[in-house]
């Protein structure tokens, strides 16, 4: 096991304590960058999808994992991002302006909504955001001249400095674009977490009373977390729109909100890495199910395709399993595994035993 000797405050402040850790991230980035040369079109498209989910997952992670608020309405903010981006581009605004505006619109809307919403807590907030989602969905249908209503709308292909980033014609370019955005957002997210802003999020999450006593404006902090979260989710929505190319309100159903919650919980609440782990899982599992189904059909002759809703069932069972057996998610499991390897053969089962907890009422705030 390596030991990091801290010789200056900068060791703590830097994102990574030494060049070994930095190197690992660099290698990961290089491999991701070279992916278009390594895999075929189909898997590249899937990788793009995973990255978009990871982006949306990071958006929700800020809220759920780091500021302790639950939202069941994030599909609505994805929709806002997608519609603003596609709408502006249809009106002739170039992507480079429309895309940030889409994020800004979703973020501002989120922060605006948050101001009354932050007075609520826990379940009330979850349900209020759910209601907000239904309202956004209905508004999309009502505002047909702008959104295409039930018929849907087309996301124009992206052109930047004369280079084509069309999702179909030049998938590699689109993939690189998404990768760059995801890398940039991840960097910004990590920066927030190591700065006073991130600490104020954690403070509000763990004890509002203390946060107030330390001079943290709880309402403002929660609204900021909400805004940032919705902004990032909106960006993901805009990319999702480009990825699907032609979409209507049904793309952003309640199941997207639930899947996003899945991403952050299964991935590992409170860790940026968790959003990525979760995104990989949520995009890979349907693929695995499809492969398994084809295999069973061809070899044994069992046609699972005839059973409707099997995918969701398997998802649900995985989710239940995680909540019960590994509430810290995939990333938590990974941390334990790593500790086990590093300490081998000294690691013992008891080190990772969960402490018994008792729930107290949350009606006291």
């Amino acid at each position: 096991m390596r030991v990091v000797f801290k010789t200056s405050y900068d060791k703590d402040i830097d994102l990574h304590p030494d060049w070994w850790e930095r190197g690992k991230i660099a290698v990961l980035l290089v491999v991701m960058g070279l992916l278009p040369f390594l895999v075929g079109e189909y898997y590249l498209a899937e990788a793009t999808n995973t990255l978009i989910w990871a982006l949306a997952g990071m958006g929700l992670m800020v809220l759920v994992g780091h500021s302790g608020q639950v939202s069941l309405g994030h599909a609505g903010f994805m929709a806002i991002g997608a519609y603003v981006d596609a709408g502006l581009m249809t009106a002739g605004v170039p992507w480079i302006i429309a895309f940030p505006l889409a994020g800004l619109a979703a973020g501002c809307f989120g922060a605006l909504v948050a101001i009354p919403a932050v007075r609520m807590s826990g379940i009330y907030l979850a349900i209020a955001t759910l209601a907000l989602f239904v309202i956004i969905e209905e508004m999309i249908i009502i505002l047909e001249p702008l959104t295409g209503g039930v018929g849907g709308m087309f996301a124009p292909s992206i052109t930047l400095f004369g280079i084509d980033f069309d999702r179909y014609a030049s998938l590699s370019n689109f993939y690189w674009l998404v990768l760059a955005i995801v890398a940039l957002v991840t960097w910004g997210y990590a920066n927030i977490l190591r700065s006073p802003t991130g600490r104020s999020f954690l403070a509000v999450r763990d004890s509002e009373v203390s946060a107030r006593a330390l001079g943290i404006n709880v309402t403002r902090t929660k609204a900021l977390a909400f805004g940032l979260s919705c902004g990032v989710t909106g960006l993901a929505g805009a990319l999702m729109g480009h990825y699907i190319a032609f979409f209507n309100y049904e793309l952003f159903s309640i199941f997207i909100s639930i899947n996003l919650l899945l991403v952050v919980t299964i991935g590992g609440l409170g860790f940026i890495q968790g959003a990525f782990f979760g995104a990989v899982l949520i995009t890979a599992v349907p693929q695995l199910i499809a492969i398994l189904r084809d295999g069973l059909n061809a070899s044994v002759g069992i046609d699972l395709g005839a059973v409707p809703g099997l995918d969701t069932l398997i998802f649900s069972v995985i989710l239940v399993g995680f909540i019960i057996y590994e509430p810290t998610g995939l990333y938590g499991r990974w941390l334990k595994f790593r500790a086990y390897v590093q300490l081998f053969p000294l690691a013992r089962r008891e080190m990772f035993r969960r402490q018994k907890t008792y729930l107290k009422t949350e009606r006291m705030r």
């Binding site: 009354p116 379940i123 239904v134 409707p308 239940v320 909540i323 009606r363």
Partner: protein, 291 residues
Amino acid sequence: MELIQLLIGGVASGCIYGLVALGFVLIYKASEGVNFAQGDMMMLGAFVALGLVNRDYWALPFILGIVLACVIMGGVGYGIDRFVVRRIFGQPQFALVILTIALGFVLRFVAGAIWGFTPLVLETPFAGKHLSLGGLVLGYEDILTICVTAVLTLGLWAFFSRTKLGLAAQAASQNQMAAYIVGVPVRRINSLIWGLSGIVATIAGVLYAAKGAIDPNIGLLGIKAFAAAVIGGFGSLPGALLGGLLIGVVEPVAARYLPSGFSQMSPYILMLIVLTTRPGGLFAQIHAKKV
């Protein structure tokens, strides 16, 4: 006259929202969490009743079938807590939210696998019968819904405020450890309450099915019932019923007098208005934390 007719229909469907909301409140009182599968439990209850009563299936006498369905669903509720929810005992509310969302999907899958996804109709002895009262048409099922809801709400209210078990359940939700120390069997009480909410869900499901066809996706009605429970204040039984009635009435009125699309939104808009003005609902139960 038209408005009164509209209101009566609204009250009847409001009662069903109210009953599902009662289920939420029950679980909230016991586990201090929200059961997002409550709508799906209602759906499953309706299907179980249908499976027992309809001539194509078991063809039992109506009352016997309903009672049996209640017993079965009570068992399902008890079992869900005993074998699944109990495993996350002591974890934060958020875990229960996710867990029950997933359970809802499982229940929906089960119903779809057994009864299929085409809408089915529950055969009731009072289907299509109605009372005429000076120009007003009152369906038997509407009258029954209103009566059953009133009785059930009163009964549950008495249970929680008068009986030892009910009080113990409330204590268990507010501080698990303290409840243990004073000798409340927290886990068993939680399971019992889940069973009870299964029964309430079945009654709601049967009343819903008496008014129209059902399919495995009617559980989404639960979202509206949430709005009802939230408007009422989540910890309050009469509040849940009142919230349900409000939503039940607002919906048809909005559909009649407002442009299309708004009636779908109206329950949620109503809820957001209540929440922004009174963050704890009409019968708030949130208190300031003592430091």
